[in-house]
């Protein structure tokens, strides 16, 4: 199978709807200046597959919803008030991934965060449980618990120097 495309809606630094397609490329690079939103794009991929918010540099799911509003009064002075406070925080956010199985069948995977911070999973627009969702992914060898196919920024060296027990545990999860 392969990841065909992604659609982000009010997810982290992506205001409104942003979508990208991978086309037929087998090797795609994501580039851009510091702070532009590259790692947030990886967080979107991880989020839609079911990875928990603590692995997405956040304390809670609500942190993943686009925030446009100024955080508190003191910033207004710092920036001499040229930023209008009208861009309000968004209420909800979602990420949708379009995945094509090896047999050509298309899966639309969607995960939404509600205004109270709860998350909802859908496959081809049908609501499913988190467990069912992760089973469908497991059949595609996408193992969310092992996360052996995701390397977050700054983590690569640690993989080589992990303890013997950690390495054994990783092998256990993939086997």
């Amino acid at each position: 199978g392969r990841l065909v495309g992604l659609e982000l809606h009010n997810f982290k630094s992506y205001r409104g709807t942003a979508s990208i397609g991978f086309g037929s490329a087998n090797f795609t690079s994501i580039i851009g200046p510091n702070g532009s939103g590259k790692s947030n794009m990886m967080d979107a991929i991880s989020f839609v597959l079911g990875v928990k918010s603590q692995h997405l540099r956040s304390n809670q799911l609500k942190d993943l919803i686009y925030r446009g509003r100024l955080l508190d009064g003191d910033i207004e002075q710092l920036q001499d008030g040229e930023l209008d406070n009208e861009d309000l925080d968004s209420e909800t956010a979602y990420v949708m991934a379009i995945y094509e199985k090896s047999d050509g069948e298309i899966l639309q995977l969607k995960r939404t965060i509600g205004s109270r911070g709860q998350s909802e999973y859908r496959i081809n627009n049908k609501v499913t449980s988190a467990g069912e969702y992760s089973n469908v992914l497991k059949k595609e060898n996408i193992l969310i618990k092992a996360r052996n196919f995701l390397v977050f920024q700054g983590d690569v060296e640690q993989i080589a120097s992990q303890s013997a027990a950690e390495l054994s545990k990783l092998l256990e999860t993939v086997s």
Binding site: N26, S29, I30, G37, S175
Partner: protein
Amino acid sequence: RYELFISAFNHISEKIDPIYKELTKANNTTLGGGAAYLTLEDEDEPYLAGIRYHAMPPMKRFKDMEFLSGGEKTIAALALLFAIHSFHPSPFFVLDEVDAALDNNNVQKIANYITKNSGPNFQFIVISLKNGLFEKSDALVGIYREQRENSSKTLTLDLRNYPETA
């Protein structure tokens, strides 16, 4: 459970050395390359004890991780990742600035490995700041910040439409 664990261990143990050699051999030759292997701390009940990873860069003498440099550790880590992946291959990999500690020579080696091994069932999505890596990709997703809207924006570019520049 024991069966599964051992079959995973044996498969990955076989793969780790050839992958590590491919990532460390001098460019465009089959010469050289380091050596890497896994050992079980407890042969009898492997899933109760740990697994140790040893990797030795070409022409070096130390095999334990704590003696490797930052760049050498990165290469060893990628070899282990690719070896583990080969057991039950997930359809895609997402790598976020894994090339940060690599010199240009090693960036080339990673770029070559990805170009050679990516395919319809092994898709690579790589975040990188180094042109030695991203210029070798099939397509680029450029991300920029649109200040007026206070938002990240994306652009996509298929590199295969452009002739290979010298």
